[in-house]
């Protein structure tokens, strides 16, 4: 479980996350939503330890993380295979076959040896998703993972995420996603100006 206790993050005198208390459990998919600049990305950064809270604390078990934060960033003049191989060499948990399997899941097998600079934004987004899931992490933190995807690949990723939820904490930050149509979320957290505006249990949300 990951638990945020009255977490506040201040940047240049401005509270970008204000007094947030939340807990994330295994086996559930969480949606963070809200307008641009409401603190979604900052909350994801806090969750995976990229930044530390100014006030408050974060309790968490020993987890491995798979993340997409902001726009997909890869070494552009290298191929997808080279990029993923380099990242896989850090933990040394998977081999090239596992990398290829993950790439196949996101429909990029035929372009794995192409330079990333030749990829479209949607392809980069799928590659980014691939690097997040390839080592089968305990926690998946996905910031706008559906950006620039066509309908086919949007459905593909949504399907994959819903199948992966067993034994994982999955947190997705997205705005403009149709939660009625895609009922994969267990809890929806709405943020406004860094504060929690509402926390909705998804079954209740659908009933309403």
């Amino acid at each position: 479980m990951i638990k945020l206790n009255n977490v506040t993050k201040t940047l240049k005198g401005h509270d970008v996350v204000k007094d947030v208390s939340l807990s994330f459990e295994k086996g559930k998919i969480y949606l963070l939503r809200g307008h641009n600049g409401c603190g979604k990305t900052m909350l994801l950064r806090l969750l995976c330890g990229l930044i530390t809270p100014t006030i408050g604390s974060i309790e968490k078990d020993e987890y491995t993380y798979g993340v997409i934060i902001e726009t997909p960033a890869f070494v552009e003049h290298e191929t997808a295979r080279q990029n993923l191989k380099f990242l896989a060499s850090i933990q040394k948990k998977i081999d090239m076959k596992d990398i290829e399997n993950s790439v196949a899941k996101v429909n990029l097998s035929d372009v794995i040896d192409k330079q990333v600079k030749k990829y479209s934004l949607g392809m980069k987004q799928r590659l980014s998703f691939c690097q997040a899931i390839m080592e089968d992490p305990d926690v998946l933190l996905l910031d706008e993972p559906f950006n620039a995807l066509d309908t086919e690949h949007f459905e593909l990723l949504v399907g994959m995420i819903s199948k992966m939820k067993e034994g994982k904490i999955i947190v997705i930050a997205a705005h403009g996603i149709d939660v009625e149509k895609h009922s994969i979320f267990d809890q929806i957290v709405t943020l406004c100006n860094g504060k929690i505006e509402s926390i909705e249990d998804c079954l209740r949300h659908l009933r309403d």
Binding site: V16, G37, M42, T64, A73, V75, L87, I90, Q131, E135
Partner: protein, 227 residues
């Protein structure tokens, strides 16, 4: 592979093009490393513009090769950080620096060996040059990493490092202490003892400073600060 061959070819061209009035081909290495030349009649050292420019060009080539790799590792910082934390991220940075410096040293050695075979002679400057290149590029790379860890933009740190190098190169011709930031200087044999230990000291200081920097916030809050 193509890029590596191109790199060695350009480096070789810089050595061949270096202005050398003496008959001693091996002195070319010193002239490139110092941006100097020697009057064969008076034995006086002077600084032709071409050699100074070649020296600067060579340094820019070395620095840009290493800095490009460092920037690539920083590009993947979120993914690396989440796979192993700060320690692994810094280890990845230092590993890439050493890999690139090693490549540069190999490229230099290839050219040296070519010259040795051609002239059937050997110059001790080869050993000094390799050691000094390793330390000088190491110092600059660590400064660049530190500047990135403090959130300074690439262009600014690159400008400061290259300007610093050019100033040190010019001043080192009069005040040998400035050779701490250059690969070589005139009278390198007599200044070797104070310069190399100072270079090692700076190398270690900057290396340790990277490890002491424990606040990751600046790296991860570069682009958008409040989404």
């Amino acid at each position: 592979m193509k890029r590596k061959i191109f790199f060695v070819a350009i480096l070789l061209l810089l050595h061949i093009a270096t202005f050398n009035e003496t008959d001693d081909l091996l002195l070319t290495f010193q002239f490139v490393a110092q941006g100097s030349s020697l009057d064969p009649f008076t034995d006086e050292v002077y600084f032709p513009v071409f050699n100074v420019l070649f020296n600067i060009a060579m340094m820019v080539m070395f620095i840009s090769t290493i800095f490009k790799k460092i920037s690539e590792v920083f590009m993947l910082h979120t993914y690396i950080f989440n796979r192993g934390g700060q320690t692994v991220f810094k280890r990845a940075l230092i590993k890439c620096v050493f890999q690139k410096i090693l490549f540069i040293l190999i490229a230099k050695s290839i050219i040296y060996i070519g010259f040795f075979l051609f002239t059937r002679e050997f110059t001790v400057f080869f050993l000094y040059d390799l050691l000094s290149t390793f330390l000088t590029l190491g110092i600059f790379s660590f400064i660049f990493i530190l500047s990135k860890l403090f959130g300074i933009k690439n262009k600014i740190s690159l400008f400061c490092i290259i300007s610093g190098y050019i100033i040190a190169l010019i001043l080192s011709q009069q005040i040998y202490f400035f050779a701490v930031l250059t690969i070589s200087t005139v009278d390198w044999q007599s200044t070797l003892i104070p310069i190399i230990p100072i270079k090692i000291f700076l190398f270690l200081i900057f290396g340790v400073s990277i490890n002491l920097n424990k606040k990751p916030d600046r790296i991860f809050l570069g682009e958008s600060e409040n989404d």
